[in-house]
Amino acid sequence: MNIRAIVLAAAAALMLTGCATSGPKFSEMSATMAAAKLDTGRIYFYRTALIGAAVQPEVRLNGEKVGKAVPNGFFYVDRPAGNYQVVTETEVEKKLTFTLDAGQVRYVRLNISMGFWVGHVYGELIDEGEAKSEIASTRYIGSATTP
């Protein structure tokens, strides 16, 4: 086996590892997920794009690491009503700010755009209807945290 074949095989293995998300699908899990407590809201984070699969930055919510931007994956957190800032960082820091009401559900899609050396991953607030259809086929990658 020549060096080129080894490099290609390693790259393919790395890419497949990056894409591997093995948890249950949102569509399978949503019916059994406990609702958020009355005085909190829920924030779902999800990433559909497989482009730039190796780029999986941490997702920070008001400075706290809550998960990673894993392609084809989703996770959620329950938080009290208030103001929130989502930060993702690769070669630049990207910010999303929004409010959360008690009982409200927010959906943050983690997109990737072109960068200089590495892609930029950023959060975008998505309407519930659009988000529900996009998140349905993603797989759970988190462990729900409550305040």
């Binding site: 103001n83 929130y84 800032q85 630049v92 990207k94 910010k95 999303l96 700010t97 929004f98 409010t99 755009s113 072109m114 960068g115 200089f116 930029h120 950023y122 959060g123 975008e124 607030l125 998505i126 309407d127």
Partner: protein, 125 residues
């Protein structure tokens, strides 16, 4: 530097510039809470906030008064997500004066972002 290297560096800088939009204008302001007024937006509105990314307000959305800033009345809707996009993305409420969109209130930043050009709104009860 060879012509090829120069071309690669120039293309890289251009790509980087495209990827980095200017920040959303944020003028600090104070919201005085208020309630009791609402309206339905009958026609869609495309608002330019001078970042190169516009914000669309959809038709048939209902807007509820949440307060007042010095630039006008502040309304929010639950019928669509409203965000302002620049180098970051910020949730926004609309600011209305004399039945026209004059800008957005950023509730997290407690700031006002003006639109490039005031947009008349097609308002119905």
């Amino acid at each position: 530097m060879s012509k090829r290297s120069l071309w690669i560096v120039t293309a890289g800088i251009a790509l980087f510039m495209v990827a980095c939009a200017p920040p959303v204008t944020q003028l600090p302001t104070q919201l005085t809470p208020g309630t009791g007024k609402s309206f339905r937006l009958a026609s869609p509105v495309e608002a330019d906030i001078s970042t190169g990314r516009s914000t669309t307000l959809r038709a048939n959305t209902r807007w509820e008064l949440v307060g007042t800033v010095s630039m006008g009345d502040v309304y929010r809707t639950r019928d669509q997500v409203v965000t302002l996009r620049g180098d970051g993305i910020h949730e926004g409420y609309i600011v209305v004066r004399e039945r026209a969109l004059v800008g957005f209130y950023l509730p997290v930043e407690r700031a006002f972002c003006p639109v490039a050009q005031t947009q008349p709104l097609s308002i119905e009860p």
